[in-house]
């Protein structure tokens, strides 16, 4: 790499694009902590550079024939070779572009959202850190590098969730997110090591090539795939590690938009795309993945149906949509997953940013409170929310409809119809929960006094901030509408990936789009009946059965279960026992030994009681015994 990296324009672009945020991070942390404006400028500039380079790379390699790979030595130890480098192929280029675009928009948005926050500089530094690690993750040529940056995005996620560290719950949520993803990461690390053991290196292209089947016994391959899938579960908040994501909403809204919906949590799905052929080699792994994706999708949908917190609703929908992507991928549809990832990134970022505008304006997350305070008067964000929710629900002309369609087609191609049925159920539920907050906010039972002052932000500064925030919304809304019509070019673009791979084509069922749109519309209609129509009681059908509602609201008691395990089994169980062991058994025995030594000394001293006659007696006895010894 060192020989000609400066001459190779592609590589140079990639390096500049990925490392500019890191430089920004270092500069902000070291020099401009106390100059928020400079920090923001630097950060935005680096995001722009990244965006430009991503676009240049994407444009320059639209017709990429075979993957471009650049590696250089990072660490060599014994027979472990860890390179650092860049792998440019359709999958990574698409993801890179998505990351760069959303990252740029969110940073721009944050100028308004975070204005006046005491941690303004820190915020932008951490955002840059995230952007750097996410981009490096995207273009990793080896699983090692991917793992390293995988951890680093987790780290930046930890810091950003706990950004308002004075709120105790924020810190808790960050910790929870880090530890739960760490659990998945450990599994993934083990899977990576397993591959390393058999393959000898971790080059992604080699892992994806068919020769791995010859190098790894099938059960090992399945095990490795499952372990790596564990990492995906952690990062993409799939069942059973899904509870950290709703809590992660403690972070600022732009962070939720960037990290916890569109990019970082999608890294799990991205990893699946990255190792797509590898996973397909093991049918057990894909089946497990399919099951987990399905369970997560349905579970999160039920949770979203009863939540009152707008950000949590979108968080649950993120889990559910990620599950949906994994279903598509496990069904053998690389394009299905990648396309839905892209559209999802756009509309989910849109939804979160809109929610951020509401929260920034009214200072509450509760949808009923928001409705009562009059969100419907904020026309642009409300409209954007409706567009985003429409895409989420999969209403026809919006991008979500098309991407879901592709996945459903793939699922329909599977021999077992249960997946398709589950997915269709998911579509219905999604439509229901996506429009529930919309209708609640659109048709509040009683509006506050009309023309309340908070309808339109006042003051030039306030208005400026508002405009800064609304700008990215409009762009994302446009993307949400437009992306659906880019299906064919994207499909052609991604066709260059994994050319050797033959997957069963999705069945072309003519009736599927109609059924889907019917279900989605039905879901929306049900919502309208319950929440939207004049005189509606604004309680969902689930709320009618308190037991189930409570069950859903408590996240199926998963959180309680984990908490109980952690508290009782680990903290008060094993740890306490071991700590007791330390103080009582180990320390105790050692203290006992030293006490025993002293005691023995005291006892020995008893013989030498200090009286001269005893000494004399001892001498005499010793002499006698010696004489016995000598003479006999």
């Amino acid at each position: 790499m060192a020989s000609c990296w400066i001459e190779n324009s592609t590589l140079l672009t990639a390096i500049v694009g990925t490392w500019a945020p890191f430089v920004t991070f270092v500069l902000i942390m070291l020099f401009t902590r106390h100059r928020p404006k400079t920090s923001a400028g630097l950060s935005l500039a680096s995001a722009t550079v990244s965006l430009a380079s991503a676009l240049v790379l994407l444009g320059g390699h639209w017709n990429l024939q075979r993957p471009l790979e650049y590696t250089g030595r990072w660490l060599v130890s014994g027979d472990i070779y860890i390179p650092f480098g860049y792998l440019l192929d359709p999958v990574s280029l698409l993801m890179l572009t998505v990351v760069a675009i959303i990252g740029f928009l969110v940073q721009f948005y944050s100028l308004g959202y975070m204005a006046g926050d005491p941690g303004f500089s820190r915020y932008f530094a951490l955002m840059s850190l995230f952007l750097w690690s996410m981009m490096c993750l995207t273009i990793s040529p080896t699983l090692f590098q991917l793992y390293i940056f995988w951890e680093l995005v987790g780290l930046s996620s930890y810091f950003l969730i706990g950004f308002w560290y004075e709120k105790f719950s924020a810190g808790q949520a960050g910790k929870k997110a880090f530890v739960m993803t760490r659990l998945g990461d450990v599994a993934m690390f083990l899977g990576v090591l397993l591959i390393l053991l058999h393959l000898g290196n971790l080059n992604i292209l080699e892992i994806d090539s068919p020769k791995i089947v010859g190098l790894m016994p099938p059960e090992m391959l399945t095990l490795a795939a499952l372990l790596i899938f564990g990492g995906i579960i952690g990062k993409s908040a799939q069942f059973p590690l899904l509870t950290w994501l709703p809590d992660a909403m403690q972070g600022p809204s732009p962070v939720s938009a960037l990290l916890h919906s569109s990019t970082m949590v999608a890294a799990g799905v991205y990893l699946f795309e990255r190792l797509f052929p590898f996973f397909l080699f093991s049918s057990t792994a894909t089946t497990v993945g399919l099951a987990i994706g399905t369970i997560s999708m349905l579970l999160a949908s039920t949770m979203a149906m009863v939540s009152r917190d707008i950000k949590q609703i979108w968080a649950y929908s993120t889990i559910s949509q990620l599950g949906f992507m994994l279903m598509g991928l496990d069904a053998g549809g690389l394009f299905a997953g990648a396309f839905h990832l892209t559209t999802h990134a756009a509309f989910k970022a849109l939804l979160f940013l809109c929610a951020g505008v509401f929260i920034h304006q009214y200072g509450t997350n509760d949808i009923y409170d928001l409705a009562a305070k009059g969100t419907r008067r904020m026309r642009v964000p409300m409209l954007c929310t409706i567009i985003g929710a429409g895409a989420l629900a999969g209403l026809p002309p919006l991008s979500g409809f098309f991407s879901k369609e592709v996945i459903l087609a793939k699922l329909a191609g599977l021999p077992n119809p249960i997946w398709l049925v589950a997915a269709l159920l998911g579509v219905f539920l999604t439509a229901y929960y996506a429009f529930r907050p919309i209708f609640i906010m659109l048709f509040p039972p009683s509006l506050p006094a009309a023309n309340a002052s908070n309808a339109a932000p006042e003051g030039t500064r306030h208005r400026l901030l508002y405009r800064i925030m609304v700008g990215p919304l409009v762009i994302l809304a446009g993307a949400t509408v437009a992306l659906g019509f880019l299906q064919t070019p994207l499909r052609n673009f991604l066709a260059g990936q994994y050319t050797g791979l033959t997957t069963a084509g999705g069945a072309h069922l003519g009736w599927l789009p109609y059924v889907t749109s019917l279900l989605a519309t039905g879901g929306v209609a049900l919502t309208w009946w319950e929440f939207g129509r004049p005189g509606a009681r604004q309680t969902g059908f689930v709320d009618g059965i308190p037991v189930i509602a409570r069950f859903f609201a408590e996240r199926w008691y998963l959180d309680r279960l984990y908490r109980a395990i952690l508290d009782h089994a680990v903290d008060r169980g094993i740890s306490a026992v071991l700590a007791q062991n330390d103080t009582r058994v180990i320390d105790g025995s050692i203290d006992g030994i030293s006490r025993g030594t002293v005691l023995a000394g005291r006892l020995a001293a008893l013989i030498n009681a200090g009286m001269i006659q005893y000494r004399l007696l001892m001498i005499f006895a010793a002499t006698v015994l010696l004489s016995l010894y000598f003479f006999f």
């Binding site: 006659q613 005893y614 007696l617 005499f620 006895a621 006698v624 004489s627 016995l628 003479f631």
Partner: protein, 172 residues
């Protein structure tokens, strides 16, 4: 049994008996007096073993000087004569145990040692010869002994000074 033999056994029984009496007396004056008998008996035994000079020394130094010093001390310290049991059990019992072992070992050695079976002949070392012998062969030892005596003298003088330390009395 020869006459000499008879004398030996007689003396031996006197020595042992008077020593036994000496160590069991509660009254120290009695003990010292019994011991004087014992020492005189051993002086006679020395004579029997052909060392008249040493027998004299024994009488003069041991029975005469040392025992008198003991008597003086006994008078000086006025010991409490009601010292309880003369031979307390907790000291006597281990003593008897080891003493018995000692006796067994001693008798066995005396019996089995072939050198012990040789019968002693009478002979006399005249004081003149003895003196010659000592000063010709062991003058260094004599000097050393004199030094030791000197040191003993100094030590006794030092310890016997009237000055009593001013520290508080040790708890007794």
């Amino acid at each position: 049994m020869t006459l000499h033999g008879l004398i030996f056994y007689l003396l031996a029984s006197v020595i042992l008996a008077s020593t036994g009496m000496a160590i069991t007396r509660r009254n120290l004056v009695h003990a010292v007096l019994y011991l004087v008998f014992s020492f005189i008996g051993s002086a006679l035994l020395f004579c029997l073993f052909g060392a008249p000079f040493l027998a004299l020394l024994q009488v003069i130094i041991y029975a005469g000087a040392i025992m008198v010093v003991f008597l003086f001390i006994v008078m000086m310290v006025k010991p409490d004569l009601s010292e309880g049991t003369v031979l307390p059990l907790r000291q006597l019992l281990p003593m008897v145990l080891f003493g018995f072992m000692y006796a067994v070992v001693g008798v066995l050695v005396a019996v089995t040692d072939p050198a012990g079976r040789a019968v002693l002949e009478t002979a006399v070392a005249k004081p003149t010869e003895f003196g010659h012998y000592v000063f010709a062969r062991h003058y260094l030892a004599v000097e050393i002994i004199s030094l030791i005596l000197l040191i003993g003298l100094m030590g006794a003088l030092h310890l016997g000074r009237e000055k009593v330390p001013k520290e508080p009395e040790e708890p007794s």
